[in-house]
C-alpha cells in the first residue's frame, strides 16, 4: 500500500518532470514536484506511524531470483528526511535545467537506495546517486566519488556472494536470505571486505578523512542540498550494509575500525572548522563532525552487537538516529542561511563579513537555532545525541576485547574534544560573521531576509527540535524496546536526560529575569559609540571603525595553536624551556610569591607535559597504557558492568 502511494507520487512527479522537456519557463513546468515531495512526506510519516514493513516484488530476473522494493521503518525514517530536503531543494531558486536534472536524478537514486529490496537495486541506486551528487557542483564527478561507487558495488557483490555462493546478482529477494543467515558475512572473505567497501562508499559522502576538503568544497559551492543528501545517503549505506544486512554477529574489529575512523575524523573536522575561509565550509566542518560522531556511534553499535550487549547496541543506534535530523535538516537550514548572507553581504569570504546581526537581525535570529543544534547547546539537538553517545562510552564493558580501556579513553576524549571544537568553530563563525562591526560598506547595507524565507528555513528546524525535545517519538518508530516519549535513557537504565522540562525551565527563568529587570531597572538604555581605549575616532574613510581591530577569522585558531604548542607569550618560563635562562628565574621568583606554590609547580609540570602536541600524545599514551594494564590485570570494575542484561 505504502509503496503504491510512493509510486503514485512518482507518477505525479514524472508528469511534472516530462514537462521540463517542453520549452517554456522552468517554474510552472515543475508542478509535479511539490505533489511528489509532500505526498512522499505523508507516506513516510504514515509508514513511521504504522511501523510495519512492506514489500513490492518486481518481476525482473529469473524465477525465484526476482528483486523488489522494500519499505521498512529504517528506510521510512530516511525517506522522511530526504523528502524534507526535497521540499527545501524544490523551493530554492532554479539555476538551470541541467542542474535541476542532476538534482532530480540524485533524489530519485537516493530514494531507490532507500527502497531497494535486493543488492542489485541497492548497488545501482547507490552508483547513480553518488555520481549525480558528485556532478552536482558542476563538471564531472570527482575521483573520490568514483571510488565511492566502487565501494558501493563491491559491498553489494560481497552481499550477493553471501546470499548465493554462485554470485547471482538478484539472489536475495527482499534481503530475506541475508537477514535469515545464522552467521551473516562475519565469516570468510566477506568479513574482511564488507566493512572496507562500506567505509570506502561512505567516506566521500560523509566528508570524513581524507575526503574532507571535497566535502567542504561541496558545502561552499555546490547546491545546499547536495552535501546534506550525501550525508544521509552515506549513513544509510553504512547502517544498511553493516548493521542490517551483515548478519547477527559481525566481527569486533569492524566496530573498532569505525569508532577510530569516525571519532578521529570528527576531531579533524572540528579543527578544520576553525580555519575555514567561507561560512559554508565552516558549517560543512560542523556537519562532517556530526557525521563522524554518527559513524562512531555505528561502530560502537557493531562492537556491542559483537559482544552480545543488546541494550548498549540499541542505545548507540539511538544516538545515531538522533544525530540524523540535526546534521541533515539543521545543517541544511544553516547552509541555506549562510548562502543568503553571503549574497546579501556581497562576499563569500569570512574576513569580509561582519556585523550582520545588526543589518540582518531576522536571518541571524533564525540562524541561531541551527547553529545551536549543531553546536551542542544543552539540552537539545546535538547535545542530546552526544549525551547518549557519551553514556554509551561510559557503559562500554566488553571484557573479551583486549584494548577496551584504550578504546573507552579514545571514545570519551574524542567525543569531548570534537564537541568542544565543533562548538568553538560555530562560535568563531558567529563572532566574525554576525557580531562586531561591518567590514565592508556592502555588508553594512545588507538587507534582511523576508518572512517567506524565514518561514521556509524555520520549517526545516521543526523536526530537529521535535526529535530532540521528544526523542521517544523519533526513536520509537524503529523496532525494538519501547521508548518513553520525553526522555533519553542511558544503557544502564540508571541515568536519563529529559530535555523538554529543562527547556521549559530555561524559558521560565528567562521570563522571570526579564520581568525582574524591567521592574527593578528604573532607568532605560542609552547607546553610545563604542569606547576605543583612548584611541582617536575612526577617520572618514573607515565609517565603521578599523575592521582590523576586531576578532579576525584566524584569531581563535592561532590562539589555540599557541596554547597547544606552549608558545604563550604571557609565560616566559614555560616558553624558554626547563632549567635554563631568565625565564626560569622569573618563574621561580613568581612562584615564591605565590600562596599556591605546590599547585603552581604541578601545573607547570603538567603544562610542560601536556601543552605540546608530542608531549600530550605521549602523556595520554602512558596514562591510557596504565589504564589498560590496570584493566587487564584486575578486570573491569563492577560499576562498569551495568549493561549486561
Amino acid at each position: 500500500m505504502l509503496i503504491g502511494l510512493f509510486l503514485l507520487a512518482g507518477l505525479f512527479a514524472l508528469r511534472g518532470g516530462l514537462r521540463v522537456l517542453v520549452p517554456g519557463p522552468v517554474a510552472p513546468a515543475r508542478a509535479g514536484w511539490p505533489v511528489f515531495a509532500i505526498s512522499g512526506l505523508a507516506c513516510s510519516l504514515l509508514g513511521l506511524a504504522t511501523g510495519r514493513s512492506a514489500g513490492l516484488p518486481i518481476p525482473i530476473g529469473t524465477a525465484g531470483f526476482a528483486g523488489g522494493l522494500t519499505l521498512d521503518p529504517l528506510s521510512c525514517l530516511f525517506c522522511l528526511l530526504i523528502f524534507a530536503v526535497t521540499c527545501f531543494a524544490e523551493t530554492a531558486p532554479p539555476s538551470s535545467r541541467l542542474a535541476d536534472g542532476r538534482r532530480d536524478l540524485a533524489i530519485a537514486a537516493s530514494l531507490l537506495v532507500l527502497l531497494a529490496g535486493d543488492s542489485f537495486l541497492l548497488g545501482s541506486g547507490a552508483v547513480l546517486a553518488i555520481l549525480a551528487l558528485g556532478a552536482s557542483c558542476g563538471g564531472r564527478a570527482p575521483r573520490a566519488h568514483a571510488l565511492a561507487c566502487i565501494g558501493a558495488v563491491g559491498a553489494c557483490i560481497v552481499l550477493c556472494q553471501r546470499a548465493a555462493p554462485g554470485g547471482a546478482l538478484l539472489a536475495d529477494p527482499g534481503f530475506a536470505v541475508l537477514r535469515a543467515g545464522a552467521s551473516g558475512v562475519a565469516s570468510g572473505q566477506g568479513a574482511a571486505l564488507l566493512p572496507i567497501f562500506a567505509a570506502i562508499a561512505a567516506i566521500p559522502l560523509l566528508g570524513l578523512w581524507p575526503a574532507q576538503p571535497l566535502f567542504r568544497r561541496h558545502c561552499a559551492f555546490a547546491p545546499v542540498w547536495a552535501p546534506v543528501l550525501g550525508s544521509l545517503l552515506g549513513l544509510f549505506l553504512l547502517i544498511r550494509l553493516l548493521l542490517d544486512l551483515a548478519g547477527p554477529v559481525p566481527s569486533v574489529w569492524w566496530g573498532a575500525m569505525l569508532v577510530l575512523l569516525g571519532l578521529g575524523s570528527s576531531v579533524r573536522a572540528g579543527i578544520s572548522g576553525l580555519t575555514q575561509n567561507r561560512p559554508g565550509a565552516a558549517i560543512g566542518g560542523a556537519i562532517a563532525l556530526q557525521n563522524g560522531l554518527a559513524v562512531g556511534g555505528v561502530g560502537l553499535c557493531l562492537l556491542a552487537k559483537a559482544e552480545d550487549l543488546p541494550s548498549l547496541a540499541g542505545a548507540a543506534f539511538d544516538a545515531v538516529l538522533l544525530f540524523l535530523p540535526v546534521l541533515s535538516l539543521a545543517g541544511l537550514a544553516a547552509l541555506g542561511l549562510a548562502r543568503i548572507m553571503e549574497q546579501e553581504a556581497g562576499s563569500g569570504l569570512v574576513r569580509r563579513l561582519g556585523g550582520l546581526a545588526t543589518s540582518m537581525p531576522g536571518a541571524c535570529l533564525v540562524m541561531t537555532v541551527p547553529l545551536g543544534l549543531l553546536g551542542f547547546v544543552a539540552p537539545a539537538g546535538g547535545f542530546a545525541a552526544s549525551w547518549l553517545l557519551l553514556q554509551c562510552a561510559f557503559s562500554v564493558s566488553l571484557p573479551s576485547i583486549a584494548g577496551v580501556p584504550l578504546l573507552t579513553g579514545f571514545l570519551v576524549t574524542g567525543i569531548a574534544a570534537s564537541t568542544s571544537l565543533g562548538a568553538a568553530g560555530l562560535i568563531r563563525l558567529a563572532w566574525v560573521v554576525a557580531l562586531g562591526r561591518p567590514r565592508t560598506p556592502r555588508g553594512a547595507a545588507a538587507t534582511d531576509i523576508g518572512p517567506t524565507s524565514a518561514r521556509r528555513h524555520g520549517a526545516l528546524l521543526v523536526l530537529p527540535l521535535l526529535t530532540s525535545l521528544l526523542p521517544g517519538l523519533w526513536l520509537g518508530s524503529q523496532p525494538g524496546p519501547a521508548h518513553p516519549p520525553f526522555r533519553l535513557t542511558a544503557p544502564g537504565g540508571t541515568t536519563m536526560l529529559v530535555p523538554l522540562p529543562i527547556l521549559l525551565a530555561i524559558l521560565l527563568a528567562l521570563l522571570l529575569s526579564v520581568l525582574l529587570v524591567r521592574r527593578l531597572a528604573v532607568r532605560g538604555e542609552r547607546r553610545e559609540p563604542a569606547w576605543e581605549g583612548g584611541a582617536a575616532p575612526p577617520p572618514p574613510w573607515l565609517p565603521f571603525g578599523d575592521p582590523a581591530t576586531q576578532i579576525a577569522p584566524s584569531s581563535l585558531a592561532i590562539a589555540l595553536r599557541q596554547a597547544l604548542l606552549a608558545r604563550d607569550g604571557a609565560d616566559p618560563g614555560l616558553r624558554s624551556g626547563w632549567g635554563r635562562g631568565r625565564g626560569v628565574r622569573w618563574t621561580m621568583r613568581w612562584r615564591a610569591r605565590s600562596l599556591l606554590l605546590g599547585l603552581r609547580a604541578s601545573s607547570d609540570v603538567a603544562g610542560r607535559l601536556l601543552l605540546t602536541h608530542g608531549n600530550a600524545l605521549a602523556t595520554a599514551w602512558v596514562a591510557l597504557m596504565l589504564l589498560a594494564m590496570a584493566f587487564g590485570a584486575l578486570g573491569p570494575p563492577d560499576a562498569v558492568r551495568v549493561d549486561v542484561p
Binding site: 544543552a378 557519551l390 570519551v412 563572532w431 529529559v498 530555561i506 531597572a521 602523556t619 590485570a633
Partner: protein, 302 residues
C-alpha cells in the same frame, strides 16, 4: 511517608534551595572578587553583608549604556546566561538530595548548561567589535576548549564509581582516592574555564552588569556545591527528612560554602592571567586521566 508527602517535601526543599542560591549569589561573588564592590568606608558585619546587595541595587538604578553598534545579542546575552546558570544551580543540590528535580539532574547536563552560559557571554563580548574584549574572549574560549576534555574524563571516573551520571546517584556513593582525583580534575577544569571577568565586564553597565555579577555568583555557587558535595560526601540531608533534617544539611552547606569561597578567593588572587589558568586545564586532563587508574588499581583482581 506517603508519596504525596515526599513530593511536597521535595518541592519545598527545591524552592528553598533555589531561593538560597539566588540570595547567596551576590554574597559569594563579592567575597570571591571583593574588588568588584566599591569600598567607601570601613563597615561592620551587617553592613558588610548588605553591601553586595546595595551595590546591585545601585547598578540597577543606573542607566544601561550599550555600544552604538550593539546587536540584539547584547540585550539578550546577560538574561540568557543568568537563566542557564540559574537552571544549573537549581539542579545541583546544596543542602539536601532528593529534590523535586532530582530525576532531571545530570552532571553532563549541568556542565553543558554552564558551558552554554559561558559561551553566550563570550559571544556577547565580541559584539561591540573592540580589540580588548575580543582578545579576552578568544583567550577564554581557548581555555574553555582545553578544559572540556579534562572535565568529561573526570565525569567518566565518577560515572564508573556511581554507575551513572545522575547527580544524586554520584553524591550518594563514597568516592575514595579516585573520586577525589576526579573532583580535583573537575575543579581545575572549572577554574580554567570560568576565567576572570575584569576585562569582559568593562563592556557592561547598569542592569546588564548587575545580571553579569549575579550570573558569576551563581556559577561559583554551582561549582562550590558540586565539588564540595563530591569531595565531602555524606553531608547532605535527605529532602524527605523534613525541615529538622534540612537544618543539619544547611549547616554543612554553610561550612562547604565558606571553605569553597576561601579557596576560590585564594586561587583567584593567585591566578590572575589567562595563561596561568590555561595550564590548569592541562593539569586537569592529566589528573582526570589518572583517576580511572587509581580507581582500577584499588579493586580486587578479577
Amino acid at each position: 511517608m506517603t508519596d504525596l508527602a515526599g513530593l511536597l517535601l521535595g518541592g519545598a526543599a527545591l524552592l528553598l534551595h533555589a531561593a538560597l542560591m539566588v540570595a547567596a549569589a551576590p554574597l559569594v561573588e563579592a567575597w570571591i572578587a571583593p574588588e568588584t564592590i566599591p569600598v567607601t568606608h570601613p563597615a561592620r558585619w551587617p553592613e558588610r553583608i548588605m553591601r553586595p546587595y546595595r551595590a546591585l541595587g545601585a547598578l540597577l538604578a543606573r542607566e544601561t549604556i550599550r555600544s552604538g553598534n550593539a546587536s540584539p545579542l547584547a540585550v539578550a546575552a546577560p538574561l540568557l546566561a543568568v537563566s542557564l546558570t540559574l537552571v544549573a544551580a537549581c539542579l545541583v543540590p546544596s543542602f539536601a538530595v532528593g529534590l523535586l528535580d532530582a530525576p532531571l539532574a545530570d552532571l553532563l547536563l549541568v556542565l553543558g548548561l554552564l558551558a552554554g552560559a559561558q559561551a553566550t557571554l563570550l559571544l556577547a563580548a565580541a559584539d561591540d567589535g573592540l580589540a580588548s574584549s575580543g582578545l579576552e574572549a578568544v583567550g577564554q574560549m581557548v581555555n574553555l576548549i582545553l578544559a572540556v576534555p579534562g572535565g568529561i574524563v573526570a565525569v567518566l571516573t565518577l560515572s564508573l564509581l556511581a554507575g551513572g551520571t545522575g547527580l544524586d546517584q554520584i553524591l550518594a556513593v563514597p568516592h575514595g582516592g579516585a573520586g577525589l582525583a576526579a573532583c580535583c580534575a573537575l575543579g581545575l577544569a572549572a577554574i580554567a574555564a570560568t576565567g576572570r571577568r575584569s576585562i569582559l565586564s568593562q563592556g557592561w553597565s547598569g542592569a546588564d552588569l548587575a545580571l553579569l555579577r549575579v550570573q558569576d555568583g551563581l556559577q561559583m555557587l554551582v561549582w562550590i556545591d558540586l565539588i564540595g558535595g563530591l569531595a565531602l560526601p555524606g553531608m547532605l540531608a535527605a529532602a524527605r527528612s523534613g525541615p529538622l533534617g534540612w537544618l543539619e544539611g544547611l549547616l554543612f552547606w554553610a561550612l562547604r560554602l565558606a571553605l569553597g569561597t576561601l579557596l576560590l578567593r585564594t586561587v583567584g588572587a593567585s591566578l590572575t592571567s589567562l595563561s596561568s589558568r590555561r595550564r590548569l586545564a592541562g593539569l586537569s586532563l592529566l589528573v582526570a586521566a589518572l583517576a580511572p587508574v587509581l580507581l582500577l588499581a584499588g579493586r580486587a583482581p578479577a
